[in-house]
Symmetry: C2
Subunit: 155 residues, 2 copies
């Protein structure tokens, strides 16, 4: 049960990996927790910097990289020039969801409507793939692309 140890849930995950607990990492994890939207490295940097001006953008990138590889955050590319990050499979993570992306105006719709079915389905697929390719799957991205209501009408 949670709350057993001392610090936040992710401390032990860091320790398992042999990663040090640093002020910068504390702040970044905290920001990730308290952000619902997909957030960019620059966004995180601004917030982190507000809390602790010593934290640099480079560290933000390095930390996100690390978190991605461990499956703690999912990195997204919505085609608007910068990557976005989101906590997954963990306390504080937003409900699992997928995306509709407008190729014209870049609007992103998060949908959760049909997730029960989708998640069921995907779990089976993940299992099959995992077995067949000996691949340890930590996350997935499903994006549907097209034109939104506004952009689809005209051209």
């Amino acid at each position: 049960m949670p709350g057993h140890g001392r610090g936040p849930w992710w401390h032990e995950r860091f320790q398992e990996k042999g990663w040090r607990i640093t002020p910068a990492r504390e702040v970044i994890m905290d920001i990730l927790h308290n952000t619902k939207e997909h957030i960019s490295a620059a966004d995180i940097y601004v917030k982190a910097h507000a809390v602790n001006p010593a934290i640099g953008l480079t560290t933000v990138y390095r930390t996100l990289d690390m978190l991605e590889k461990t499956g703690i955050v999912q990195k997204f590319d919505f085609g608007d020039g910068m990557a976005r990050y989101e906590l997954i499979n963990n306390p504080g993570a937003k409900d699992h969801h997928h995306h509709l992306i407008c190729l014209n105006c870049k609007k992103i719709i998060d949908y959760t409507e049909f997730m029960e079915d989708e998640v069921d389905f995907l779990e089976k697929t993940e299992k099959k793939l995992s077995d067949k390719y000996r691949f340890k799957i930590t996350g997935h991205v499903i994006n549907f692309y097209g034109l939104c209501k506004e952009c689809g009408s005209g051209r």
Copy 2:
């Protein structure tokens, strides 16, 4: 039925859109056709340039952009720094498939194993989303992330 008009299938799609048929576009469409792998803008540029040195990289980017927005090609970001493109939903397109991406070594596994089921499932989902959000869906991307056989063993 195909083969009715004069040129290749995509001529009419361009004409519908009011786009001009140009040498650069002919070459690029041709390259897209004859390439199985996901191909980058730079790759296309090299091949196009070999055929016709007048074709510039800028045009390659502009054309791919246009093709993406029309749903003729799908743009992929596999996290290795440059986008990849692939013909979809059209003659010459590779069989529909999804991806397993290793977060560590960036290896990409195209899998087609369970596609029948997945495609069935996705079509239903697309229909539902399309209706609910009045969103015209032209393509989708499904990526599973994790660690491949080689990278998963150790750390």
